[in-house]
């Protein structure tokens, strides 16, 4: 047993706090926006130049001039502001964003993150991820724990790094793992997942901090 993608995303939403400015990465992290409690005041930043990202539009209301960093059509909110890319990354690099929730391909026990390149195979580019991981106050990675038969939680990343020592917390389909001085520290298990299973699915030491 493990968390479904939706459960992972719901768990990731618990990282949000009232008043937070948050950047959600492309893909699974974007889904976190569906789980923001209505009572909570969270402002989403999209690095293409928007603060206060609203929900997807209803059919017929989509606007080609209004997209998020994943190039998806979105809507505005009363609080929304638009700005150029330099200002957007001034926010990010300058430490003004409270939380980034990003996807990952590998996370190492020293907090290194790889999520932008598989040499010779995948060529997409770093996008805004490299700026987000060094600039945002807290970085949470949401990803499946295993890639085929291999754990994505490793001693040292073998894929090219996105950032060094930048990940604070990992949310996978198996549970929640923090990264501290000593490496991976298990904080929560998904329903039905055992410590043993979590250890097997981690290609590095795992301290238990449940």
């Amino acid at each position: 047993m493990a968390w479904t993608r939706d459960q992972m995303v719901a768990r990731a939403a618990l990282e949000l706090q009232d008043g937070f400015y948050v950047n959600l990465g492309i893909g699974i992290p974007t889904l976190v926006s569906n789980h923001i409690p209505p009572s909570m005041d969270v402002t989403l930043q999209s690095e293409n130049g928007m603060l206060g990202v609203g929900p997807f539009p209803f059919e017929g209301e989509e606007d080609p001039d209004l997209i998020n960093a994943g190039k998806q059509t979105v809507t505005a909110l009363p609080r929304t502001s638009y700005f150029d890319s330099a200002t957007s990354f001034a926010m990010i690099r300058g430490g003004h964003i409270d939380l980034a929730i990003l996807g990952g391909m590998q996370v190492a026990e020293n907090g290194d993150l790889a999520n932008w390149l598989v040499p010779g195979k995948m060529v997409k580019g770093p996008g805004g991820a490299m700026d987000l991981v060094v600039g945002v106050k807290r970085v949470v990675v949401v990803m499946e724990q295993m890639m085929k038969e291999e754990s994505k939680l490793v001693r040292r990343c073998t894929l090219p790094l996105t950032g060094q020592g930048c990940v604070h917390r990992l949310i996978t389909d198996l549970g929640v793992i923090d990264i501290g001085n000593g490496g991976f520290m298990l904080k929560e298990l998904a329903e039905g997942v055992t410590v043993e299973q979590m250890k097997k699915s981690t290609a590095a030491d795992l301290k238990i901090g449940l």
């Binding site: 999209s46 690095e47 293409n48 130049g49 928007m50 929900p55 997807f56 539009p57 209803f58 059919e59 989509e62 606007d63 080609p64 001039d65 209004l66 997209i67 998020n68 994943g70 190039k71 998806q72 059509t73 979105v74 505005a76 638009y82 700005f83 150029d84 890319s85 330099a86 957007s88 990354f89 990010i92 690099r93 010779g120 060529v123 997409k124 580019g125 770093p126 996008g127 805004g128 991820a129 490299m130 700026d131 060094v134 600039g135 090219p160 790094l161 996105t162 950032g163 060094q164 020592g165």
Partner: protein
């Protein structure tokens, strides 16, 4: 000084040459100078280095310049939407300088602002920092990045006046103002050319000093890359 042109072809006349560096605004297909891209394609100019956050998609945006073989090198942050790009790159037919999005934005801004270099935490300790100077500030490593200038910038705005003052609409702003300031010749295509004085002076995004030529595009395609909807009810 007349900045107004009747078309992209006229606006780009005399401004194109082989092996030049062109900065192009836009994020994905949002806010791209589509008329200028078409005119560049039709001009046949080649060996281009193009600075643009993305490379369009197959068959639209900068993708058309890749397909026509006019581009030698891209300086971009993300090209995940373009399959032909990946083929060209992986087969060694296209040179790519991957630059993180925030570093790309800041390098263009620096280029336009007379800043030859600056330091950023971004890429420190990664492959993209290889060959670059690093330096420690407050105990943390930073990478020196160089300002980026182009020979020509092509940008797309919502409205512009005859002085070249521009305003952009919503997220179609993105890299456009940065590109406009980073080249000695900037060509702006606008959806609506208005009389000087029609734009509110306190809300001009790109002051006219950064724009040398301007024209009203006759029809904008403005394609949507990811039409993502929510259900009613």
């Amino acid at each position: 000084m007349n900045k107004i042109c009747s078309s992209a072809a006229e606006a780009l006349k005399g401004a194109l040459r082989d092996n030049m560096v062109i900065a192009a605004g836009g994020f994905g297909l949002c806010g791209i100078p589509e008329h200028c891209i078409t005119a560049i394609r039709e001009s046949g100019v080649k060996g281009l280095t193009v600075i643009s956050n993305n490379a369009g998609v197959d068959g639209f945006g900068l993708g058309v310049l890749l397909e026509s073989g006019q581009v030698k090198k891209m300086i971009s942050s993300y090209v995940g939407e373009n399959k032909f790009f990946a083929e060209l790159y992986l087969s060694g037919k296209l040179e790519v300088e991957f630059t993180p999005q925030g570093t790309l934005a800041e390098r263009l801004r620096a280029g336009g602002a007379g800043i030859p270099a600056f330091y950023t935490r971004t890429t420190a300790g990664t492959d993209l920092a290889k060959g670059k100077e690093t330096r420690v500030f407050d105990g943390k490593p930073y990478v020196m990045e160089l300002g980026l200038k182009a020979d020509l910038a092509v940008v797309k705005a919502w409205k512009g006046d005859k002085e070249g003052n521009l305003i952009y609409r919503k997220t179609a702003r993105n890299f456009n103002p940065l590109c406009a300031a980073a080249a000695p010749i900037t060509v702006a295509e606008v959806e609506e050319l208005v009389e000087t004085g029609a734009l509110d002076a306190s809300f001009i995004h790109t002051p006219g000093i950064f724009v040398q030529r301007i024209f009203q595009g006759d029809r904008f395609d403005k394609r949507i890359e990811q039409r993502t909807l929510r259900k009613r009810g």
